[in-house]
Symmetry: C2
């Protein structure tokens, strides 16, 4: 039912605790965002990290210091409008909570980053099969041997998501995703996983393993889990992200992100 | 020296017999074309064949029946302005000649089709290595198991050219070539050659074998030899093409073909 709600209605339900869990498949056509919240002392360095690593960390909006709103993305109160949050203490994930009102600080800055849901929708709209969706699983994600470009305390390996395609469909997927740099853009690799430091596709570091058919190539996209690793490397006393799959649903349309 | 000549100057030299052989590397920045010349009795069917198979047969210009000019592409006399022609008799290649004035007929129609030189230049301009160029060889070409869509007497298998790239460069090459549908556009396949009926990359059907490094993927583009196979299938008493590598150099800029 929630797949026919407007983003604003959906956020109202989330705020009221009436929508719990993943936002996958909700508010089709609208941008959903990865969220990172950290103190203003580290905001500039993190923003520079995103600027230097735009494929895993495509910045869609940045709030003002202490501001819970993101007016560019809708009528949002970031303390309540995400279904579940992951709290990081001293660089380590500590708890998951449905509301961060009690944790909010006047020096917090909110970052909203593009998410793969947008390009998966574009692939589906073009008639391609997105295997993790057709299998009803989380997309498999892998830590690569590729270093992000560091900024201050933020550093770490690039994390990628993987979706298998026949070669002709992989070529089409590259064309489609190239239109959407704000949601990870074109893939960063395809073919042999070992070339980017992935030993075994059946053992993802995050998410679920999915089926790869005989003639299919694994295709790898930069992934929004990357900034969570950078956040851990930064070892901040307190930082907050969304919980995987539980995104901020915005009023921005996916089509508005298309560069062409 | 001829790489600094204008297209018009180069055509004048070709017309005078002062430039013989390949046009590769000449008149950089300008479109070079595959040429097919056949009687008006088969022109409509061949045009329909091109329309149905735009990746191997991207039509850039079509002359009027009996007309040796192609005004859209420059001040051209097609009987003399190509360095070498291949004459087909009863469907089979018979001789190569530097001038077709003696063969010209009032019912001939000229077709100019896009050529890979244009997209190779775009790849080089982006800093990618084009292996056949760096090795100083003809690009390797292979007959695939993919059928073209037939039109009248014209039919046959798709022929592809192959250039090897590291995966990230292959992705970039797909982006670059997607801007140029009039010169074969995006690749049609990459990875396992057997999936498109190629048994051995070291044994090309046309052109020269080239080196493929360890981590590289073979990337396959639809190729302008395809219409020559279709021409053979049509078994016409007389038809003429350019000789491979000896193209019509036009006044049109490669950048004018970019769709974006």
């Amino acid at each position: 039912m929630s797949d026919t709600l407007s983003p604003a209605e959906l956020r109202r339900m989330i705020r009221a605790g009436e929508h719990i869990g993943t936002t996958s498949g909700t508010a089709p056509g609208f941008v959903q965002c990865n969220i990172v919240i950290l103190p203003t002392s580290h905001a500039e360095d993190f923003m520079r990290f995103c600027q230097r690593n735009p494929k895993p960390c495509p910045l869609i909006a940045v709030g003002e210091p202490g501001d819970v709103a993101l007016p560019a993305l809708g009528d949002i109160d970031i303390r309540t409008d995400v279904p579940a949050y992951r709290v990081f203490r001293d660089g380590a994930p500590s708890e998951e909570v449905p509301d961060i009102s009690a944790l909010w600080r006047d020096d917090f800055v909110v970052f909203a980053l593009g998410c793969s849901f947008s390009f998966e929708e574009a692939l589906l709209d073009d008639g391609l099969e997105v295997r993790n969706l057709s299998q009803g699983r989380n997309v498999p994600m892998y830590r690569t041997n590729i270093d992000c470009i560091k900024s201050g305390a933020f550093s770490g390996k690039l994390v990628v998501s993987m979706r298998p395609f026949l070669a002709a469909d992989a070529i089409r997927a590259i064309q489609i995703c190239s239109r959407f740099p704000a949601v990870h853009g074109a893939p960063i690799h395809l073919g042999d996983p070992q070339l980017i430091g992935i030993a075994d596709l059946s053992q993802p570091d995050y998410g679920d393993a999915i089926r790869i058919e005989q003639a299919e190539l694994p295709v790898f996209w930069a992934c929004g889990v990357t900034p969570q690793l950078a956040l851990q490397a930064a070892n901040l006393p307190l930082a907050i992200t969304h919980s995987p799959g539980c995104m901020l649903v915005t009023d921005m349309r996916n089509s508005q992100l298309a560069v062409l």
